[in-house]
């Protein structure tokens, strides 16, 4: 029973750790940002899972339906998605700027250039 009830959370943890691994283990900056997005999406899935009720439907009031899923996590995550894309845009702009300044988007090469100068 516990395994079925917590299955979603375990998937979320796996996705989160995959994103985390991409962020800390890869040197390519674009790949790091994609990893960050994966991490974010896993948190979104976790919140939406909190809001789900067994046998519920989408929280749009209609006749003949009594059980609705919790709308509050949905609202929070709507805001979070939009803020997330703003962060992504800024991060990618920084990557482009770094590429202009260093001519590379690999983190270790940037460190080498910093030490030389």
């Amino acid at each position: 029973m516990a395994a079925v009830g917590l299955y979603n959370y375990w998937i979320v943890v796996f996705l989160m750790m995959a994103g985390f691994y991409i962020v800390i283990a890869h040197d390519n900056l674009v790949k790091k940002i994609v990893g960050l997005n994966v991490f974010q999406a896993s948190v979104f899935v976790m919140y939406i899972t909190f809001g789900k009720i067994q046998g519920g439907t989408a929280p749009i009031i209609a006749e003949g339906i009594t059980t609705y899923s919790n709308p509050l996590p949905h609202v929070l995550i709507l805001t979070a998605i939009v803020v997330g894309v703003a962060t992504t845009a800024l991060g990618l702009a920084l990557v482009v700027r770094i590429n202009e300044a260093y001519g590379t988007i690999e983190e270790d090469e940037i460190h080498v250039q910093d030490e030389e100068s």
Partner: protein, 172 residues
Amino acid sequence: MSITVCAILRIRNLYAVVMLGSIFSVMAAAIFVILDAVDVAFTEAAVGAGISTVLALGTIALTTDREKKPSHTKILPLIMVCLTGVALIYGTLDLAHYGDPNAPVQTHVGPDYLRDAPVKTGIPNVVTSILASYRGYDTLGEVVVIFTAGIGVILLLGNWRHIGRRREDKDV
């Protein structure tokens, strides 16, 4: 959901990373539909799979489209990730089970909104009524965040740097 996991595993290998990221977003949107969050699914499909992908592809066009082969071993990050994962799994053991109607999340403000929101705001979609009416200030703050990000991008990439440099040259 396991398909999504497979997509993530493939993301690590190739440089089709960005397109796989887009596919990942679409799958997340499908999962949101299954979990009754239709509004979130719309936004994720449009913003996560659409705009993010376009931005990332633009970045690739401006920089490079190849990732260098890793030069050092990655044992330490792997150990760290595994430890964090185990700690998080341990944490999930105390969480409410999937779809449990008696979980603390479901018994406090959620039902109040579901009862009052359609009557007070006249909008049948409860998510919309909370977003625009109850939490209108949050949405305003969100707009401020996007505005700030936009200004940041313009400052980082805009043409004004060259203009400023040219002016300095003239002064000298």
